[in-house]
């Protein structure tokens, strides 16, 4: 018998009522007596299902509705309408039995006590989540090794760098081995080495404990490294739900070829093969319809003096950008 999904979302919608007024003293005075409100539909009836142990990337530009959706699923926000079940619970009822199985890492908010070492906050979490001493020590050891926390645990949190703090935040969120993990920009402001470390860690944690993960990030490298499946959201609507690799096939039906030529050529000379994406001396990147791949490649090889040639899918950033451009148009 297959396991039931960890997350089921049906027609979830969130409308914010926002107070609006012009700048200036007169407008300020006017708003004292007559307030103007505007309704902003942040999430427009989205539906999806996530199976146990899946890592799903949640993609979209700023204001797309990613964080609002995660906040509804974590119980921080009441939806305007629709349904959601996470681990069989209705999130916004905020039952302690649900919150014990959940972790939500908010990249810009801290759950750690600022003035004292992170270890003190971990001990409070041990009591709150009723983590048995042995499990607490085991998990802590794992986290210390994987995230290289040894030296950080004794420093006051306020003295840690952004990356170090994020590692401690992750550790605090995972001590109770949550079944569902929401990561909102976990690598925000963190250097490249630390980003890689955090990605590896999330992948390892998911494999070891089978936690279901939803990840939002502005760094596509986070998504490509961790997520097979992505949800693309824009202006509160779900534009795509499926395999990350198929996203480019569906949305961007073209291929790219990177050419290294013996001698440089004019951009206009490539028009008969496809669109020039980039040209830099003897290095050229061309784009053409996916179905013409073999034909274009064989023509390039026979008609030009090619030193090296690589066929590839367009970068995922470009594909996503294309999705948003299409919607805008």
């Amino acid at each position: 018998m297959s396991e039931s999904p960890h997350i089921v979302v049906r027609d979830l919608r969130k409308v914010y009522k926002v107070h609006e007024r012009e700048a200036g003293a007169a407008a300020s005075l006017k708003s004292l007596f007559k307030r103007k409100y505007k309704e902003v539909e942040a999430v427009k009836g989205i539906s999806f299902t996530i199976q146990p142990g899946e890592i799903v990337g949640f993609l979209g530009p700023n204001g797309a509705g990613k964080t609002t959706t995660l906040k509804m699923l974590s119980g921080l926000l009441y939806p305007t309408s629709g349904e959601a079940k996470v681990l069989g619970f209705t999130p916004w009822k905020r039952e302690p039995a649900y919150l014990r199985q959940l972790s939500y890492v908010l990249g810009n908010r801290s759950q750690l006590a600022w003035d004292i070492p992170a270890m003190d906050s971990f001990i409070v979490n041990q009591a709150i989540y009723e983590i048995p001493e042995r499990q607490f020590r085991e998990t802590l050891d794992e986290l210390v090794n994987l995230l290289d926390l040894e030296k950080l645990l004794k420093k006051p949190v306020r003295g840690l760098s952004l990356g170090e703090r994020m590692k401690c935040e992750l550790a605090a969120s995972l001590l109770h081995r949550p079944n569902v993990l929401f990561l909102d920009e976990p690598t925000l402001g963190v250097d490249v080495t630390m980003q890689t470390r955090i990605r590896q860690f999330i992948a390892e944690h998911n494999q070891r404990y089978g936690a279901t993960v939803i990840l939002t990030s502005h760094y596509m490298a986070d998504v490509t490294a961790l997520c097979k499946r992505v949800l693309v959201i824009h202006h509160g609507s779900l534009l795509y739900d499926g395999d990350l690799n198929q996203l480019s096939e569906r949305i961007a039906p073209f291929k790219q070829v990177r050419l290294d030529l013996e001698t440089p050529m004019e951009a206009s000379e490539f028009a008969k093969y496809g669109d020039v994406v980039q040209i830099e001396g003897a290095k050229v990147t061309l784009r053409f319809p996916r179905e013409q791949t073999s034909q274009v490649v064989s023509r390039l090889l026979t008609e030009l003096s090619v030193v090296d040639l690589t066929v590839e899918d367009p970068a995922i950033e470009e594909v996503i950008d294309l999705v948003f451009q299409k919607v805008q148009a």
Binding site: Y16, W92, R94, L99, S110, Q111, A113, D120, I128, Y129
Partner: protein, 272 residues
């Protein structure tokens, strides 16, 4: 029950560790608590002297200088043990969204806040104990401590701590609806200070004001245990005093539940 003991013990340790990081500012906050009662004592001492050594209220209650010293010194200690300042911090958390990480935990944020408040009391009371002893020695109050009365006062102080804390927390929760909760809080502090007896003992209040003060929750928040310790309350009034405290505690819990449920809806409607 064992779960809550563990949660509170862990929170208390955390809060105490934070207090020690800011021991100097914590001490200043604690010393601030001296100002009101000592000012009250100075004014009433001067008035007593002008009246020839004692003051008698309309209800026939007499206070000498040493009686005022006893009242304000005991009031100072009880006030310190029951003080609460959560409205400021809570409003700030609601405004900048830092309430959200706390809401993701399986226990309500109020438990951490209560532990924080208790840690403050434990740390600062230990620091202030010699100062209080010195003040008792210097001001020579007219007080005869009775062990029985002190034992009875302990649960009364505990209830007073909870009542004052809950009412303050309820007030703090107005931050869910308004960004100017500090103004409401300031007004509340003034009324609390007056009706709880920070300016004058309730026994000296004129008739109608005395009645209001007697039935208000503020008497249960400080004055009732003070009256027990001073031995100014007839023993037959102890039970009514405790019943009032239980009533106000129930009212505080009810109000907390109501405001929390509404506040959560409001917080999560506008964007947590």
């Amino acid at each position: 029950m064992r779960y809550w003991i563990r949660v509170y013990a862990a929170q208390l340790k955390l809060a105490t560790a934070i207090m020690f990081q800011y021991r100097f500012s914590v001490l200043i906050w604690a010393i601030w608590g001296f100002v009101g009662p000592l000012l009250g004592l100075a004014i009433w001492s001067a008035a007593t002297e002008a009246k020839g050594g004692s003051i008698t209220s309309a209800r026939g209650v007499t206070f000498s200088q040493a009686d005022f010293a006893a009242y304000f010194l005991v009031f100072m200690i009880v006030s310190h043990l029951t003080m609460s300042w959560d409205a400021f911090e809570f409003a700030f958390r609601v405004r900048d969204g830092n309430l959200s990480p706390r809401l993701l935990k399986p226990v309500l944020p109020i438990h951490g806040d209560i532990a924080n408040n208790f840690a403050f009391k434990i740390v600062t009371s230990t620091m202030l104990l010699p100062v209080w002893a010195l003040l008792f020695y210097l001001l020579k109050p007219n007080i005869h401590f009775s062990i029985v009365n002190i034992l009875i006062a302990i649960p009364a102080i505990f209830l007073a701590v909870l009542i004052r804390y809950l009412f303050q927390y309820c007030l703090a929760m107005f931050a869910f609806w308004t960004t100017r909760v500090e103004a409401i809080n300031q007004l509340y502090f003034t009324v609390d200070g007056f009706l709880a007896g920070r300016i004058a003992p309730l026994a000296l209040f004129p008739g109608w004001l005395g009645v209001i003060a007697y039935y208000s929750p503020f008497r249960s928040m400080a004055t009732f245990p003070v009256e027990i310790i001073l031995g100014r309350l007839p023993a037959e009034q102890f039970l009514t005093g405790f019943l009032y405290q239980i009533f106000w505690l129930g009212a505080g819990v009810g109000l907390f539940k109501l405001l929390w449920a509404g506040g959560m809806k409001q917080y999560s409607a506008v964007g947590a």
